[in-house]
Every structure is written in C-alpha cells, then in structure tokens.
C-alpha cells in the first residue's frame, strides 16, 4: 500500500523492459488502467525495488509519449479544443513510432489513446494501394497470385456444361415439333402463360431428369394471381411475346384444341415427351454425344445431373408474380425510356 504523506507528492515507480526504472507522479501514472490495477491489487510501485514491471511493448520512449498524454489529459478543466490540439500534435510521428505507441497504449489499456492512434493509422492506410501500404508499414508481399484472386472452382472441361447443352438441344428439337403443331397459337394473347414461358423449358428439363417426381412440377404452377397489375413495367405485358409458347397446363388444352383442329392433338405430344425418361435420353441414338463417354463416366454424369436438378430445383423460386416477356417493340423507338427513378 502506497503511504501518502500529505506534504510530499506521491510517485509511482515503473520499470521498462530494458530494466531501467523511473518514478512518475501518481495521478499521471494512475491514468493508465493497467498501472492503476497493479497498484491497487498488488501494492507494487511504492519504491524503486518494487517498481511495477511494464509490459514488453512499453519501451522507454513509448512510455515517455504515453506519460505525456496522461500528464496532459488528467488535468481537469482543459477545453475540448485544447485536448484535440494536443492529440493532433502527439500523433505526428513516423509510422514505426505510431505503431509502437498504439501497441504500448493497448497493453496499458489506455483506451482513448488506443483509439486516437488507431484512427491515425487507419487514415494512413485509407486511399492507398496494397503496395504503398506494404512500403509504409514494411510488410512482406507474401500472398500468392491465386490467393489474391480467391480459389477458382471452374474446371476448364466441365462435362456438366456439355451435358446440359445436350439436354437443351434435345428440348429445342421437341419444341420445334410443337411449334409446327401450334402455329396458329402464337398470336393468341394468353396472359398467364407469358410468365411461364421461361420457367417451363427448365421444368420440362427437370421432368426429363427426375421422371415423375411431383416436386419438380412445382415451378409449373400458375401464378397466384392472374389479374394484370398497374405497374410501371406495364408496357411489357401488352406486347406479344416473341418466341415459343409451351403449353403444358391442362387449362389451356381446350383452347388449343379448338383453335388448332387440323394439328395433331397436344395431348399426344405431351405424352410423347413425358414418356421420355432420363435414361432414355442418355442412351437414345438421337442424343448427340460428340465425345465418347465410358459407362463409368456416364454414371458419374447421371449422378451429377441429378444433383444438378436438385440444385436447380432449390434455386428455382415459386413464381409469385410474373411480367410478360420483354419485347423489343417499344425500346426501338427511343434509346432509353426510364422505368425507375433511381436507375
């Protein structure tokens, strides 16, 4: 316990890592939480022999700066302007010293000084390039090119892409057949369908891959509401979508039947498609494999494709609202027609 003699000013003895000791005015030293704790808990610091051993990072020069800080700020009655001015002068150090000061202040738990110096360091980092920062702080350039980029997962010869392309090709062929049968229907404005045109291609695909699994027809569900909304993107809806209509939905069968009496029945064509199982596609002679895949590879691809389908399924959201297919009609007239204000 430090004995305080009223007529004498109290000092606290501190020892820096190099072994040298010094006495510091009590009120100044106690400004540092770590020193304060040491004094109160262990009673050390009352004499030279019992000097408080300061942490490694508080070297003599660092201690000097810290004590300057404490000596200034522990005085009551200073204005904010004065304090700020002092702080600004204090941190005008070279990078090395500033780092040492930050480090030392941290080990003495002197929060305000840590914040002050940390902010100063942050300002030295902001706006610089990595090279400049390395130079300023003497840091090694030890990141590899790859690490700088993030590990890549792309395989240059991804068989899945090829397979999906094949499946798409197959799908397209089927669609051509349907298109011929439904030639008259392209001009019919069947609103609910517009939003599903894109959906259905992939859903058909999924039907191919996971034959008969009910889950996969989730995406084919018509949207929750069919009523047209008065939205800014209204214009798109009014335009006739170009491209193919894929009519899967039973609701439209009547309409198609009545309009296209000469064409072959849509149900026949649907049946034709539904009968295709994934294996049928894989082994079908129509199926165009440019590269010869051995059976083991095929099996692996089967598994990968199924995995794919599951993933596609999980990323394919339920279509709550749809808008018509984008049409180029209106766009051609002017360069930009703003649909949103915050574009």
């Amino acid at each position: 316990m430090a004995i305080v003699k009223p007529e004498m000013k109290s000092f606290i003895w501190l020892e820096t890592p190099d072994g040298s000791t010094q006495q510091v005015e009590e009120e100044v030293a106690m400004f540092c939480p770590m020193i304060c704790r040491e004094v109160l808990q262990t009673g050390m610091g009352s004499s030279k022999n019992y000097a408080i051993k300061l942490p490694q990072r508080v070297t003599t020069p660092v201690l000097g700066l810290i004590l300057d800080y404490c000596r200034f700020h522990q005085v009551q009655g200073r204005s904010n302007k004065e304090r700020k001015s002092f702080d600004e002068k204090l941190i005008r150090l070279d990078t090395k010293k500033l780092c040492e000061l930050t480090s030392g202040a941290d080990s003495l738990q002197l929060r305000p000084l840590v914040d002050l110096t940390s902010r100063a360091l942050a300002r030295m980092i902001e706006g610089k390039t990595p090279e400049e920062i390395r130079h300023t702080f003497h840091l090694p350039d030890d990141l590899t090119e790859e690490e700088k980029l993030e590990p890549l997962r792309i395989r240059t010869n991804d068989p899945r892409i090829r397979l999906l392309n094949r499946l798409y090709a197959r799908k397209r062929k089927e669609l051509k057949i349907r298109e011929k049968a439904k030639c008259m229907l392209e001009n019919v404005e069947v609103e609910e369908e517009h939003e599903h045109v894109d959906d259905r291609s992939v859903d058909d695909l999924l039907l191919f891959i996971n034959s008969g699994d009910e889950k996969d027809s989730k995406g084919v569900k018509s949207s929750a509401s069919g009523a047209p909304k008065n939205k800014k993107k209204n214009r798109r809806r009014k335009d006739h979508p170009k491209g193919l209509h894929i009519i899967e939905n039973g609701n439209h069968k009547k309409e198609t039947d009545s309009l296209c009496s000469s064409a072959s029945s849509p149900s026949k064509i649907s049946k034709l498609l539904e009968s295709d199982s994934p294996t049928a596609i894989m082994h079908s002679s129509d199926f165009d494999f440019d590269d010869e895949l051995d059976p083991a590879m095929k099996e692996q691809l089967d598994r990968e494709v199924e995995d794919f389908a599951r993933r596609l399924n999980s990323v394919w959201p339920k279509r709550v609202s749809g808008t018509g297919m984008g049409s180029l009609g209106h766009d051609r007239r002017i360069a930009f027609a703003p649909l949103s204000r915050s574009s």
Binding site: Q56, D115, I125, F137, I154, I161
Partner: protein, 580 residues
C-alpha cells in the same frame, strides 16, 4: 509494423476502415492482414451476385453483419434484360440463414426475391435490422407480413421501386404492438391500399421514425394525421397529393407541415392538385432534397416551389419544369449537387414542353456545386455541351438522354462528338457517363484518351465500327461497367481486348454485331469470365458461329458458370464445339 503488433490492435485499426474499397485493399497487403481482415469484416458488397458464390463468401468472411448484393444488369431498368434472366436471392439466403445468425442488414438491388426468402430472413436472424429491396421483384405483401411479424428489432424496411404483388394491405398490421424500433419505412412502390389505422398506430409508436414514404393510395386528408404523429421526421414521401379544395383540410396540412421542423426531404406528389402545394411551403427553406418526378405540375408551379428552396441539393423533376424553371433553379438553388430531369412523355416525338439544352446550360452556370446530372431532352448542340463542360469541370456523373436515337446537333446537324469530347476533357473526375444523339467513332476516341477516371459508360445507337469500342476498352483505365445497345460493334474490338474484360465487373452488349463464334472464342481465351449469350429468337444450338447474337453479358467470376438460367441463355463453355 513488426511482428509484435498484436492482432487485436490491428483489428481495432481496421475497425476504422469502413469503405469496401479500402477493406479490399487491406486484404491484399499480406497474408497476416488478409487473415485478420477477413475475420473482422462486418460488411460485404457484391456488385454482381454471380461473381462469387454464397459459400465462398461465407467461407472467407465468417462474421459478416451486413450483405449487399446486386443482380440484374443495369439495362434491366430499360426493359432490355428478359424475364427469367436470373439474379435469384434464394440461394444466398438459404446459405446465410445457416451461416450468419447475427446478420443485421440485407440490401438487394435488381434481384428476384421470393416470399420464402423473406420468410427465411424473418426467422433466421435474431438481430435483423435493415432490409432494403431496390428494384426487386418476385415477392408479395405476404413476404412483407412475415418480416413485419418476426423481425423484432427492425429499423429499416425500404422497398424502393420494387415490384410487389399486392395480396393484402393488412401486412402492416403484422408489426406487433411491441415493435417500436422502426426508423425508416418506404412503401411508395406498393399499389394497393394499406390499412391506415395500422399505419397510424405504427407511426405513433415509433419515436425514432425518421423516414416515411407512403404509397399513392394514402389520401391527402390522412397525411396531416400522420405528420402530426411524427413531427420528428426527416424524410417524407406523400401519397396522392390531391383532394377536393377544402379550407379546413388545407389549414390542417399547412399546420402539420409547419410542425415538422426537421423535415429536409420530400417525395411522392402523385396526382397533384396545385392549390394544395403551398401547404408544404413552410418546409421549403430547410429542404435539401426534393423529388417531384411524379408530379404533373407545370413550370410556374415548379418554379414557385424551387425559388423557395435555397438549400436544395438534390432535385428530381419532370421536364415540365422547362427552361424557365431551370433558369429559376440556377438562380435560387446555389447548393444544388444533383439534378435529374425525367421525360413526361418519352414516346411522343414532339412534346409540348419547352425543355431544351438551354435549361441545362443555365443550371451548369448557376449551380457551382453541381456534380451529377441525368437529363432527358429532345435536342442538344455541341456548343451547349462544351459550355456545360467548361462551366462544370467538377461533374462526376453526366447522363444525357436525347430521346430520339442518333439525333444530331440540331443547329449544325453534325454529330455530337465534340460536345461529349469536351465533357470528358474538362470533367477530369467524371466517373459515370451516358451518351446519346448522333455519335461517330470519334467520340470514343475522345473518351478513350481523356476518360481516365470513367467507371461506368452507357452507349446507345452510336459509333461506326469496332474502332469505337476498341478506343473505350483500350483507353478507359478505370472502366468497371460498360453497357451498349444497338451499336455496330463486332468481334474485333472484343477479341483484341480480352484481358481488359477481366478488370471490369461486367459488359453488356445488345443488338450489336458480335458473333456466336467470337463469344465462344472469348470464353476459351478467358476462363474466368462468364460469357452469357442471350437469344430469344430461336435455337441457340443450331445457330451458326458467324451469326450475331441478340444479347451478350460478360462478367468476371470466381464462381464458375451458373446453372440457373432459362433455355434462351447459355454460358459459353470453355471447350465449346464450333457450329459451322
């Protein structure tokens, strides 16, 4: 720095470095900084959701509290990106819901969000605070109900310009009576009525509410009720600004506005009845931002408003303001930083609106702090552009949209090359530029040589040949986003600048002359790019290599090709077989 600099202290230093750019730089300094930085990164911005996968993000940054994602290319705002393109939020939320239990903020732009996604947000994050859905779609008010019901500490719900399916206006009632944390609510984009009593109660019990943007269906009569309950508001968006002329209504409104001493931003103003406009005049002197882009009021009214707003920094307005209004603006609003003038009727060739290049010239002269311009008009001259450039070298964003494609300088009938050339020459800090009017390859030469700080460039109906594109790709060092439509740019420029594409976030080209074969070749040369060919016209598989593709979207990615596309979009595989 030395080996003795402790990690926690370095982490503390990093906590004062918040900009994404600087954080990214910090992570590239050295191995130890990379490691420390990734553990203390709290906020992530991903400008292209397909550039990286959710798993990668989570693996690298385990302690994130705020995620910002962008999906569709910018040209989606002009209807050029077909439905079904992608930008799905679900894969992200499905991973984040497991990996980031402490997530507080999600900000999405141009993404497809679903009710399931919103529900997952509402149930996965105990401390969820901020949801911003900008130009998103795919969800309904049911999803909003889930957010309202389960996010106990919700501070911000902002649906700016999203397309929301209105199932029921009662979603607002799902905010529990105990919810008092709301600071910002923007429901301006909703089409149908919300339960007003629920809204009123919500506003009454939200003492920290700073931003409230109503939708069109909230009638003017009810506005004063709300304002009175929230006099602390900073930003307010009115509903329909119309009612039968009634003096009691008017005085109520005037009184309510007068009591809002902190209001500095106003928007909304659908269906304006001009006689009610003076009711908000008490607020004008403090206004820093005013959005009148839905207000179909004429120049005299707009002028009257604007001349009372000396502190105005941002003005969004329709071309009804005309040159006279802009002139008044230039004299009264010396603090103006951003001006956006939207077309009241873009599809009409000769609108009866006297807005010309002179209005913009006036503003460029009078408003010294003007940095950002978006200007739709029907005529322009090189001389005007040069004057604007000389007046305002501090411009950072200049987007000129002359409505008619390939419109020349209407006085000289020359291309507008020299005008835009002057812009890039004088405005040395220009970061964003949109071109329009008649333009030759020359303008691209100017842009390539002078536009060194240019980050985003939008081009439509311009140029003569591949040389134009080549100038841009080879010259603009800071280019991140390039979007092009209806220009005669083909394979050569692209293939000559392949490595440039990896330094950019994305390139969009539609109705140009890039062949399928070039796309394949590009993909082979640059495996870290996704080269997406979008073609709704027919069969991509039987398309010949020589054939020009309809649309093309190229972006760099570390996540490899994506597989969530509709059939009319293909990512060129690196080993694509040629179709001859």
């Amino acid at each position: 720095m030395g080996h003795s600099f402790p990690e926690e202290v370095l982490e503390h230093v990093f906590s004062f470095i918040t900009s994404h750019k600087d954080r990214n730089v910090v992570s590239l300094v050295c191995k130890s900084w990379y490691e420390i930085e990734r553990w203390c990164r709290r906020s992530i911005f991903i400008g292209n959701c397909y550039a990286v996968s959710p798993k990668m993000m989570i693996r690298r940054f385990p302690e994130v509290r705020s995620v910002e994602l962008k999906g569709k290319p910018h040209f989606a705002d002009f209807n050029l990106v077909p439905d079904g393109w992608g930008g799905y939020f679900y894969p992200w939320i499905s991973e984040m819901s497991r990996a980031y239990p402490w997530l507080e903020e999600i900000k999405l732009k141009r993404m497809v969000v679903t009710d399931e996604g919103l529900e997952l947000i509402s149930k996965s994050f105990k401390n969820f605070k901020v949801l911003i859905l900008s130009s998103c779609e795919g969800f309904s008010t049911d999803g909003l109900a889930a957010i309202a019901a389960h996010c106990r500490n919700l501070k911000e719900l902002d649906l700016r310009e999203s397309e929301v399916e209105d199932v029921s206006g009662h979603w607002l009632s799902h905010f529990p009576e105990t919810c008092t944390s709301l600071e910002s609510l923007n429901m301006a984009c909703l089409g149908s009525e919300v339960s007003f009593s629920a809204l009123q109660r919500l506003v009454s019990r939200s003492p920290n509410l700073k931003t409230l943007r109503l939708n069109r269906t909230v009638p003017l009569e009810k506005l004063s009720t709300l304002l009175r309950r929230a006099p602390q508001l900073l930003q307010m968006g009115t509903g329909a600004y119309s009612a039968e002329p009634r003096s009691d209504l008017y005085s109520n409104l005037l009184d309510a506005f007068s009591k809002c001493k902190n209001l500095n931003e106003l928007s909304g103003f659908w269906d304006v009845v001009p006689s009610y406009l003076p009711a908000f005049y008490p607020v004008c002197s403090r206004l820093t931002s005013l959005n009148l882009s839905y207000a179909t009021i004429q120049s005299p009214e707009i002028t009257k408003i604007v001349t009372q707003c000396p502190n105005l920094q941002r003005l969004w307005v329709l071309d009804y303001i005309e040159d006279t209004g802009l002139n008044a603006l230039s004299l009264s609003c010396k603090e103006l930083r951003e001006l956006r003038v939207f077309p009241s009727d873009p599809f009409v060739v000769d609108a009866n609106v006297s807005l010309t290049e002179e209005g913009l010239v006036a503003v460029s002269q009078g408003c010294r702090n003007l940095q950002s311009v978006l200007y739709f008009c029907r005529q322009m001259t090189n001389s005007a552009l040069t004057t604007i450039a000389r007046n305002r070298p501090n411009l950072t964003c200049f987007r000129l949209c002359i409505l008619e494609p390939r419109a020349p300088d209407y006085l000289t009938l020359e291309p507008l090359d020299t005008g835009f050339g002057a812009i890039v020459e004088h405005c040395k800090g220009l970061e964003r530029l949109s071109l329009s009017g008649l333009l030759t390859d020359r303008v691209f030469e100017y842009i390539g040589t002078r536009g060194k700080k240019l980050e985003m460039l939008s081009i439509a109906f311009a140029g003569d040949s591949d040389l134009g594109l080549h100038h841009v790709l080879s010259g603009c060092e800071s280019l991140r986003k390039l979007e092009i439509r209806d220009c005669p740019f083909g394979d050569k420029a692209l293939l000559a600048n392949v490595s440039k594409l990896e330094t950019m976030r994305s390139l969009w080209m539609s109705s140009c002359l890039v062949s399928l074969g070039a796309c394949k070749l590009l993909s082979q040369k640059m495996p870290r790019l996704n080269v997406e060919v979008i073609d709704e016209r027919g069969d991509l598989d039987s398309m010949l290599d020589a054939y020009p593709v309809e649309k093309l979207y190229i972006y760099r990615t570390v996540a490899g090709p994506r597989f969530d596309m509709p059939s009319f979009i293909r990512t060129m595989a690196v080993d694509q077989q040629p179709n001859r």
